[in-house]
């Protein structure tokens, strides 16, 4: 393995890396928690607030159906949003860090 030897502990203390991993942690876990809560509202709501899920919104299409459908769109939106932030911020910071180590 003709791989370059890195001082991993030193990189871990590099301010660029600290900024990167801090930003990433906040974003990733924050939005993961958001998406999990939003998702679990579906089974929890279906089980404990059946009255809400039965409410007819458009003709006989009820709130439960629209809420379940919204899960798809929220997931897609979050995926696109993450791609945007990652391409703009995380990848840039990573590139800067890698350049600095060269």
């Amino acid at each position: 393995m003709a791989e370059k030897q890195y001082d991993w502990a030193a990189i871990a203390k590099n301010p660029k890396f600290i900024e990167l991993h801090h930003k990433k942690t906040v974003f990733l876990f924050g939005w993961w928690i958001f998406s999990s809560i939003y998702y679990f509202l579906l089974p929890i709501g279906a089980a404990y607030t059946p009255g809400l899920f039965k409410i007819k919104i458009i003709s006989n299409i009820n709130f439960g159906y629209i809420f379940a459908l919204s899960q798809f769109f929220v997931s897609w939106w979050l995926a696109m949003y993450y791609a945007k932030v990652a391409n703009r911020d995380f990848d840039r910071l990573t590139r800067e860090l890698v350049d600095e180590l060269k």
Binding site: M1, E3, K4, Y6, W8, A9, I11, A12, F17, L20, H21, K24, L28, F29, W31, W32, S35, S36, Y39, F40, L42, P43, I44, A46, A47, Y48, P50, G51, F53, K54, I58, S59, N60, I61, N62, G64, Y65, A68, L69, Q71, F72, S75, W76, L78, A79, M80, Y82, A83, A86, N87, D91, T94, L97, V98, L101
Partner: protein
């Protein structure tokens, strides 16, 4: 128009063997104007008056047209003259891919990761192809056709699961891994024990999933082509072994991409036909569901609904009830438990994790998840249309006559809707859907065989037995031999597990992945103090607890429960007769139903489950809510009980690697 009514009469009379209350209405229909049929059946079945009014009354073609040819004698047969050529085309195309990729497969990296040369978009399609199993396609559309809303709710978790994959595991795995789950887990731990245990867990997950797929394959081919179950399983098995052994990851990837394309076109086409029946109007579509007399009859006989009526809690009319939660997933905790297994389990599935090693960079890994999410999400939305469409046009009763679990709903729908245009088109569409399902099975089983054999060959053979000292030739040979053995085992298990429920076995695989694999992957990547003891403890405890809980759960068959349900159903019918609610013309059918149910009770009374239990000890179908916290806890406690300085010191390295990709193991030869 006349044809339509013959179809309607046929559908109603055939689909109603078990439950129908008004056979006379459709029989009288041919002479009556279009709207007469639903109107005539409505009073007999106490149909939701509000819902009925919502249907545009005169000439409601979709509501009045449950075309029914496939329900003929409770069997669904594909026309071999159309089906065989389509199958041959697909087999031929995939074989060509195998020949092409076999030439490119020279090193271990080629075999396991296609040399890291798959692009993000290709990988996205392949992930979708790897993930959307026959159980999704057939099982979920079937579940929706029998239990309505709950099937749709069930499908949501399958997409949301990818948020976890996208945010937590995809890029770190690409940055820190090489070929397998074991590579990531063994990074800063003692490699041998960790790899051995990780491989066992991967094999366990793959086996459950693989069994579900093989059973699905066998049943499907048996039902559609009339070939023997064993022959079907062996046939699928041989193809799958062929793809993996000769073509490795390259062939598997392209089989998955082809399959995803076919599946999306099949589902899209069929959904279009369903929506055309509802004049492309979603509101009419939902009105059709709630007003459908067969669906109303079906819901009325579901144990859940019967209980609600007894308790005076049934707030919605039976038809509208089909669009509300709780007909299938009756235990609230079960739904949450299932959700947890999906959201965390997908990210722990070895065949999904493995796909991230095939792309060159973290950016490509990210892109591939996003592409996959759009494909998978669209697919599940289309599945809703297929499921509800099948319920409307074929009736839940008709679907259950062909397959109790509803697995044939989408197939029957293809034949019925195509057949409405012309009988040949019905055959063609059914044949196409069969071929799609066939390709689906092949793609998923190939991915699983590859993941399982990578775990055995790369983790156990090369790294544990040979200490990592194996040249490329030997590694590829080991991988091919293992794939062959794993495939053969898959065939044998598939034959042995003929009578199992497909969808629940998949749920079991997810339970093990979410409680065993995911906790240790996440802790390895993100927790400094994690170490060898933690990995082993987490994997072993998580896996055993989830399997154990499923073995004593309601997923197993408890004959006394079957007997009780049968008794409840006929008691209710007898009560209806006593109260004079059953019309004289429906009496014969009702009596017949009562007799069938009584025979069912007698047959099952006094039996025991596989574990020798009278009733489940654990009341949830999905163990996730218990087994996932237990898995995390075991991993954390194990790590804290046996701290390791080396593992802690190496955390900086894996943490920097997984975040930045610095020093990434190039998938190209080392």
């Amino acid at each position: 128009m006349k044809k339509l009514f013959v179809g309607l009469a046929l559908a109603l009379s055939l689909g109603s063997i078990a439950f129908a209350e008004a056979p006379k209405a459709p029989a009288a229909a041919p002479a009556a104007p279009a709207a007469a049929a639903p109107a005539a059946t409505a009073p007999a079945t106490q149909a939701a008056p509000a819902a009925m009014q919502a249907v545009p009354a005169p000439g409601a073609p979709a509501a009045a047209a449950p075309a029914a040819k496939p329900a003929d004698d409770g069997k669904l047969k594909a026309n071999p003259k159309v089906t065989i050529p389509i199958f041959l085309i697909i087999i031929g195309a995939t074989m060509a891919v195998v020949v092409w990729s076999a030439k490119k497969t020279k090193s271990a990296a080629d075999f396991y990761t296609a040399g890291g040369g798959i692009t993000g978009t290709q990988n996205g399609w392949a992930i979708a192809g790897d993930y959307m199993s026959a159980a999704s396609f057939l099982g979920i559309s079937g579940m929706i056709s029998l239990y309505g809303y709950d099937g749709f709710m069930y499908s949501v978790g399958w997409l949301v699961a990818y948020i976890t994959v996208l945010l937590i595991v995809a890029e770190p795995c690409r940055n820190a891994g090489k070929y397998t789950l074991g590579d990531i887990l063994a990074f800063r731990t003692e490699p041998k024990p960790v790899r051995a245990v990780a491989a066992l867990s991967v094999v366990a997950v793959s086996t459950f999933y693989l069994t579900a797929q093989m059973v699905g394959a066998g049943k499907l081919m048996q039902l559609l082509l009339g070939i023997d179950y064993k022959v079907a399983v062996i046939g699928v098995g041989i193809l799958m072994v062929g793809y993996v052994v000769f073509g490795g990851m390259t062939a598997t990837t392209w089989v998955q991409i082809i399959k995803a394309g076919l599946l999306m076109s099949g589902a899209g086409l069929l959904s279009l036909l369903v929506m055309m029946k509802a004049n492309m109007n979603p509101i009419q579509f939902f009105n059709d569901i709630a007003a459908n007399p067969k669906i109303i009859d079906h819901v009325k006989l579901l144990p859940v609904y019967m209980k609600e009526v007894e308790a005076g809690k049934a707030t919605a009319e039976a038809g509208q009830r089909f669009l509300e939660p709780g007909l299938f997933l009756t235990n609230p905790l079960d739904q949450i438990s299932l959700g947890m297994a999906l959201v965390l389990g997908t990210a722990g599935m070895p065949h999904i994790l493995m796909r991230f090693f095939t792309v060159p960079t973290a950016q490509a890994a990210r892109k591939s998840v996003i592409v996959a999410m759009f494909i998978i999400g669209s697919f599940y939305i289309l599945t809703t249309l297929l499921g509800f469409g099948a319920a409307i046009h074929l009736s839940p009763q008709g679907i259950q006559k062909v397959d109790k679990g509803g697995n044939m709903a989408a197939m029957m729908l293809a034949k019925a809707l195509g057949g409405d245009i012309s009988p040949f088109l019905g055959d063609l569409l059914l044949a196409f859907l069969c071929a799609v399902a066939f390709a689906t099975i092949l793609a998923v089983v190939s991915g699983l065989v590859l993941a399982a054999s990578a775990a055995i060959a790369h983790d156990i053979y090369v790294n544990v037995i040979k200490d990592g000292h194996a040249d490329q030739h030997e590694q590829v040979f080991a991988a091919r031999t293992t794939s062959f053995v794993v495939g053969a085992a898959g065939i044998i298990i598939g034959i042995a597990a003929e009578k199992q429920n497909v969808a629940h076995l998949v749920a079991l695989a997810f339970a093990v992945a979410s409680s065993g694999n995911l906790p240790v992957v996440v802790l390895s990547l993100f927790w400094r103090k994690f170490n060898t003891a933690g990995v082993i403890c987490g994997l072993v405890v998580g896996t055993i607890v989830s399997i154990g809980l499923v073995m004593i759960s309601p997923n197993m068959t408890y004959p006394n429960k079957v007997a009780d349900d049968a008794k409840k159903a006929y008691t209710k019918l007898e009560k209806e007769i006593a109260e004079g609610k059953v019309k004289p013309e429906a009496m014969e059918k009702t009596m017949k139903t009562i007799e069938t149910k009584k025979a069912e009770e007698a047959k099952n009374r006094g039996g025991k489950s596989i574990m020798g239990l009278d009733k489940p000890l654990f009341t949830l179908k999905n163990p996730g809510i218990i087994s996932i916290p237990v898995g995390f806890l075991a991993a954390i406690l194990g790590a804290l009980a046996f701290p390791s300085r080396r593992s802690e010191e190496m955390f900086d390295e894996i943490y920097v690697r997984q975040n930045t990709g610095i020093g990434m193991a190039k998938a190209i030869d080392h």
